[in-house]
Amino acid sequence: MELYKLTVHEIRGLVNKGKLSIEKLVRGVIQRIDSTESLLDSFITLNIDEALHQARTLDQLISQEARLSTLAGIPFGVQDNICTFGIRTTCASKMLDDFIPPYDSSVIEKLKNSHSIILGKLNMDEFGMGSSTQNSAFKFTKNPWSLHKVSGGAAGGGAAAVASDQVFYAIGSDASGCLRQPAAFCGVVGIKPTYGLVSRFGLVACAPSLEQIGCITKDVTDCAYVLEEIAFYDKKDSTSIRNGNSTYTSYLMDDVKGLKIGVPKEIFDESWDPDVRTYVNNSIEILKKLGAQIVDITLPHFKYASASHSIIFCCESSSNLARYDGIKYGMRAKGVDNLEELYCKTRSQGFGQEVKAILMLGNLFLSNKFYDSHYKKALKIRELLRNDIRKAFEKCHIILTPTSPILAFDFNHESSLPIGMSESQRYALLANMTGIPAISIPCGFSQEGLPIGLQLMADKFNEGTLIKAAYTFERNTDYHMKKPMKLEVTE
């Protein structure tokens, strides 16, 4: 049996029946990584020895009939901007090439307590700035469905690893759709929960008010399992919110009858890939047939969302990344004569082009001269968008859009776009601007065989509704069953 092909919930069943040893499972995925990694480049750092050691310990625990949590023994990957104690956490930047966190992020602490097993740290765009992993200082992650296409970004490493069965799930972050867009590009499930549902303590964020930790999984059921583990109140994160309702697995129901799904009229435009149009329309039809009610909604300020998101993203990043100055940790430029030179050289050498451009823009937007005309205005638009969203949810339970209007693109595409803006994340970033939860699920394949993602958004803390709608769609389609081409390197 090819163990790596299993899902989290399938593994659960086998482990519970005593039919699966964790060590065998871990060895299975390690083998899978061995045979595919040179093609994909999903990982920055692997944690193989430690993973095997943990697997053996767990097998012993299981033989002693210890009660273990749902994710016990399940190998997963962590985006490289989430701190892991003792494991290098680079944010895919030269700046943090040798940074080994002295602590675990709260999410990782929780997953470790659940005995889930870290297999390695996943590639991404540098500090999460980008939409294709092409801004990684180390490597580009290829799309498992077509190796000359990008895997999306920033969480391209995670999406590619899950899609190619290198890990059973991945933990990543989403500040602008940068976890959902890769999930869509790679044909897997990605969720960005409500802002405050998952602790951000230990996430090396660039834009704290936009960014949220989420997960990438092989299907909606796994998404519910993982989300249930990582959603908890954390007093270490002041933006963490107490939310009693977190039994997401109880929403795994095949039922959308009476569910009102709103489709914003503003989203339809020329930018859509024709295949995306076909399959999103098809998805609407499927949901309608299953008993959902499709309603027209309007988001009048949608057209300003992307620009104001960029401004906020740049501004917060400029402040959050200022600490990388060569003084305390990370890279320090050599051969400097004074403090100013130390700052300038360290930051010039340590950051990539896109990061530098974003930081400079952010500093500009926050300066006295541009604060009112840019940053303050962006905050105002954010307020208007929240208002739009609130009004929309008076009419519907779910808002539906494509995750990305375009398909996974060739390497070196999108470089002509304005800094910090990504055509492919125009719809996804709505959820970041307004703090609502959003999920991307596979909803079709283009003629050349690239996955298409459907985005569903719900009101704050209504992850349950999202899971239910997504699960119903998945149960009645088979897009999630498809696997990418044969990836193994043949000798």
């Binding site: 901007n81 989430i82 002295p102 704290p208 002041s238 200022a322 940790y329 926050l366």
Partner: protein, 484 residues
């Protein structure tokens, strides 16, 4: 032309909390460098701050004592600039919604009351400390102080002289110590003061260009710097020059200031609301609770000391000049009254204002450094009342007691200081004195009343001050009369 000086103060006060502003690290002073740090206060990637509730409470307490409005809606904001002592490259402060605003403090200048407006009080975090090792041409950083909670108190430009500034600072420090908000030690940096100063021709209403003076390490330095800067500005204006808006650094040794190099090219700190800290609400209930637990403030205590203990205004002012002294006074009076069954507040006050002040000044210490307790003081007073020791001897015992902490009766025994009240013994000594000083006697008899004092002095000297003074007086009179 006559000029007047306009001064506003910015006072940074380290709050007396166990832990730092945004993490659980200790705030203790003087520990091993970098021993009180964690990922949060070091700005390690990914670590997030959470706000210290105690610091918020202390800020509210201060605001109430300074008659401020307490803000309901509060945000923390980032002040962005690069400096090695600032681990995150931004200081978390309150730019847009300070916790307190629109208050005032009344001060007393030569018996005249003066009101100084408080513009705002905001919460923020301290930075670390740079240590320059010139021997090895190294700069080292100690982050123990990074993240220690501070409040910044900003006054209106209502201060008009160096004396007013110092009176304001003294009253403010006193209040902060009374409130237990800070220990206000300028040498340890837990109280720091910057001076904004401008001058203008007398009668002009608009303000002149101001300078900001930093590095003022004592109230005396504040006083000198204000005087110096006002003169400097006046000289510039009088010679037709223009005042530059700049930050200057006070050099207390040289008694002059120099313009500082700007920290950043232009003062653009790119403030924005810290997205890592949610805005916090201070509701009425919380304010009321703090209000109900406010200690008595110096001004209130001053009035009460006059009305309750019948002290002169002067005594009251001095005794309430520190919470420690005021508490000591009250505890002593209570004990003494219990013992005597009558109110003897003034006796206690005299000892504290007289001998205690003298001793602390002589030794260059503070009350807390001495081993004196209210109980020891009252035991001493009892010995005087019982005639066991004379007043001059009591001073000697007091000094010894303050330093050794030994009980006064033990000191009296040990040193044989018990008062001589034995009439026969004293009569003998008095007779000796009379015989040895025929000239003085003659002077006295000739009407020189002063000569009598000399005879008393001689008697005291012979008894090493132990003679009962009243008895000596009486015996001298008697004996001189007999010889007459």
């Amino acid at each position: 032309m006559k000029y007047e000086t306009v001064v506003g103060l910015e006072i940074h006060v380290e709050l007396k909390t166990q832990s730092k502003m945004f993490c659980a690290c200790s705030t203790a002073f003087g520990s091993e460098p970098n021993s009180q740090c964690c990922p949060i206060c070091l700005g390690i990637p990914g670590a997030l701050p959470t706000i210290n509730k105690k610091a918020v409470e202390l800020a509210i307490k201060t605001g109430l004592a300074l008659n401020c409005k307490i803000s309901e809606y509060n945000t923390m904001d980032r002040k962005n600039y690069f400096y090695p002592d600032l681990p995150k490259a931004y200081q978390t402060t309150q730019q847009y919604h300070p916790i307190c605003r629109d208050g005032y403090l009344d001060i007393n200048i030569d018996g005249r009351k003066k009101r100084v407006g408080i513009t705002r009080i905001h919460l923020e975090e301290d930075a670390g400390k740079l240590i320059h090792d010139s021997e090895n041409s190294l700069s080292l950083i100690d982050y123990n102080r990074a993240g220690v909670p501070l409040i910044e108190i900003v006054t209106e430009p209502h201060i008009e002289s160096p004396e007013e500034a110092v009176a304001f600072l003294e009253e403010l420090r006193n209040i902060l110590i009374y409130l237990d908000v800070s220990d206000c030690k300028m040498q340890e940096g837990s109280l720091r003061c910057d001076v904004n100063l401008s001058i203008r021709p007398k009668g002009q209403t608009s303000l002149g260009t101001r300078t900001e003076m930093k590095n003022l390490n004592s109230f005396r330095a504040v006083q000198r710097a204000i005087k110096n800067e006002a003169e400097r500005q006046q000289n510039i204006l009088e010679s037709g020059g223009e005042i530059l808006q700049e930050t200057r650094r006070w050099d207390d040794l040289k008694g002059q200031s120099v313009a500082m190099r700007e920290k950043q090219e232009a003062d653009d700190y790119r403030y924005f609301q810290d997205p890592d800290l949610v805005p916090f609400i201070i509701d009425n209930q919380m304010v009321e609770k703090i209000k109900n637990n406010m200690p008595e403030l110096p001004a209130q205590k001053r009035e009460r000391f006059v009305s309750e203990y019948g002290l002169p205004e002067y005594d009251s002012r001095i005794l309430t000049s520190s919470r420690e002294l005021a508490d000591f006074f009250e505890a002593s009076v209570k004990l003494y009254d219990e013992m005597k069954g009558s109110k003897e507040s003034k006796t206690v006050s005299n000892w504290l204002m007289g001998d205690l002040m003298r001793l602390t000044k002589e030794l260059g210490v503070e009350l807390g450094d001495l081993k004196l307790t209210p109980s020891l003081l009252v035991q001493l007073l009892k010995l005087i009342d019982q005639g066991v020791i004379s007043s001059p001897i009591a001073k000697e015992v007091f000094d010894e007691m303050c330093q050794s902490g030994q009980e006064p009766d033990k000191i009296v025994e040990k040193k044989g200081l018990r008062q001589i009240s034995d009439i026969d013994q004293l009569k003998e000594i008095v007779r000796e004195v009379i015989q040895e000083n025929p000239k003085t006697i003659a002077d006295y008899k000739a009407g020189k009343k002063k000569a009598f004092g000399h005879l008393v002095g001689q008697t005291m000297k012979k008894t090493k001050g132990k003679a009962n003074p009243q008895l000596v007086n009486k015996l001298l009179q008697d004996e001189i009369n007999i010889f007459q």
